[in-house]
Amino acid sequence: MTIAPPRRAPGRAAALPGSPGPRSRKPRRVFAAVMLTPALLGLVIFFVYPLIASVYFSFTRYDLVSDPEWIGWRNYEYLFTKDPKVWTAALNTLWFVVFLTPTKIVTALCVAGLLARAKRAAGFWRTLFYLPALVPPVASVVSFVFLFNPGTGPVNQILSFFGIDGPLWFNDPSLAKPSLLLLGIWVMGDIMVIFLAALLDVPTEQYEAASLDGANGAQKVRYVTLPNIVPVLIFALITGIIAALQYFTEAAVASGVASGKATVGEGTGMTLGYPNGSLLTFTEWLYVRGFANYQLGYASALAVLLFVVAAVFLVLLLRKVSAFNPESRS
């Protein structure tokens, strides 16, 4: 999910919606109510109710087989003082928030910059760099884990051709996350396309004016390009952070494939985090406790914690980004 903020839409009248029409307002109100009802129901059923229910469940012991049993703060006490992996998981997620998004953005921006200057075959290059972003994440992860297999993968085969002893990549606890970073770079195409559009959108006159003022290349980038694309950048950063907070698929599939374990008998939860918990993200831990161990009460406590953390991010975001402001009529 990549979305960028609205840019000033030129030539748009600031007319307020719903300005008095020729007819009575009443049918319009009815129409609005009817059209909104499904979405409002959806918000209540799939958002408001589950949030409240999660808080309730977080004070219970619940396995779905027997009825929930009220155990007070026990889940939270366990979460904050005893859970052996929750902090590992939280730190791993934080790692992805801090490194994955900026890395993707910087790479995407560099490639977009190159493409914006490319005179020939710009369309070809754009397609080439964009295509990996289209590959379903599961397929790209499976591919990468194979390519980086320390024993038989092509990457280490090629490295050994140059006399380099390749590292263990997805099988090394200290390299597993950086390996996923490489994957993140490979699939940066969707952000890149948006950056490219923003770069090409920078008015040529501004560059010309800067040239007249005697600006060199770096100064043009600093004083012309950047200010023009800052809104797109901020938006890519924010949506990237949100995506990193829920990082699940790539880490889960990478662990499963790299561990080489047959999941026969035990289940997906067994391999999550491989190697040595280095890929265990917070959302994975929630899945393990909730749906592999069936401790739904405890998983709800984790969900409440995740909600609180995400909410802090959201409050900051809602202020910063004009598109999220209900009053903004971009």
């Binding site: 194979f146 374990k261 969900a303």
Partner: protein, 295 residues
């Protein structure tokens, strides 16, 4: 306007600038293109290696060889005969198509109302939608799962499809942003002509928001097509409901499958998306870019 920007982009040309001048610029040009070529090779290499591996026998994949010997096209036939691949693709299509259609049915009108009709509590609703859209889905997973369990619908993809009938927060947000860009004058003019509200939506607003609707549709379609967490949670116990993405992640672990077949499956999972892209490249890039710019 944005439309023209994207058109320029899709056409693949760039703003006319002054021609290359001087040695320094030429060196820069060489440098840039070398970097592009090098990057291009790196970006295309994974797909090529996956393709080559998909043609190896399972014994050979474990030897670290880079080229197949012999070229085993049989892997692709095996992928179809040895796995319920067609069914998996069917499930993915069912999930993605129905989710997208349902989302559009429910979210387009809601987004239109939020953008163009003054209603009470509009701000509250909008903020709720933003929060719902930005929250990790795992936050609400437990109670929602319990709900579907009580409806006896776990073990299928329906828990992932049906909620779209009740709107999708991100799609509503995106669509609202598009409807906002439609000048209210058009809508008022239609009302003057005696159109009912419904007709204003269908005849005026929707046609004008077509690129936006396409963008929202493409987003949701791919979100569903690529979904892993959803099927893991709801459909993992019934292989006849697996979508192809989930199946690919799971198949190697549950069956004695080696890399040759796995890579053939991986190629087969990639291909449809790429084919769709080449047929609808324009709508695609336009949609992605528009959503980026308008979102």
């Amino acid at each position: 306007m944005t439309m023209t920007e994207t058109r320029r982009l899709t056409a693949g040309d760039v703003p006319k600038r002054t021609r290359v001048r001087g040695r320094k610029s030429w060196l820069l040009w060489v440098a840039e293109n070398s970097i592009l070529c090098a990057l291009g090779v790196i970006f295309i290499a994974p797909v090529i290696f996956v393709f080559l591996t998909s043609l190896m026998s399972s014994d050979q994949t474990l030897t670290g060889a880079l080229l197949p010997d012999p070229w085993r096209w049989q892997n692709y036939a095996d992928a179809f005969t040895g796995t319920p691949l067609v069914r998996w693709f069917g499930n993915s299509a069912l999930y993605a198509v129905l989710a997208t259609v349902f989302m559009l049915l429910s979210s387009v009108p809601a987004a239109y109302v939020l953008a163009k009709i003054r209603i009470p509590f509009a701000n509250v609703i909008f903020v709720a939608i933003i929060v719902a859209m930005l929250l990790p889905p795992q936050v609400t997973a437990v109670p929602v799962y319990i709900m579907w369990a009580k409806l006896n619908l776990t073990g299928t993809l329906w828990p992932l499809i049906l909620p779209n009938l009740l709107g999708d927060a991100f799609s509503i947000f995106l669509l609202r942003q598009f409807f906002l860009t439609i000048p209210t004058e058009y809508i008022d003019a239609a009302r003057m002509d005696g159109c009912s509200e419904w007709k204003v939506l269908v005849r005026v607003a929707v046609p004008m928001a077509k690129p936006g609707i396409a963008a929202a549709g493409i987003f949701l379609f791919f979100k569903a097509w690529n979904d892993y967490f959803g099927p893991l949670l709801y459909a993992s116990e019934d292989p006849s409901w697996w979508p192809v993405s989930y199946a690919l992640a799971t198949f190697r672990g549950t069956h004695g499958t080696d890399w040759g077949l796995t890579m053939a499956l991986t190629m087969l999972v990639m291909v449809p998306v790429v084919i769709v892209f080449f047929f609808a490249q324009r709508t695609f890039v336009e949609g992605i870019t528009l959503s980026g710019v308008k979102g």
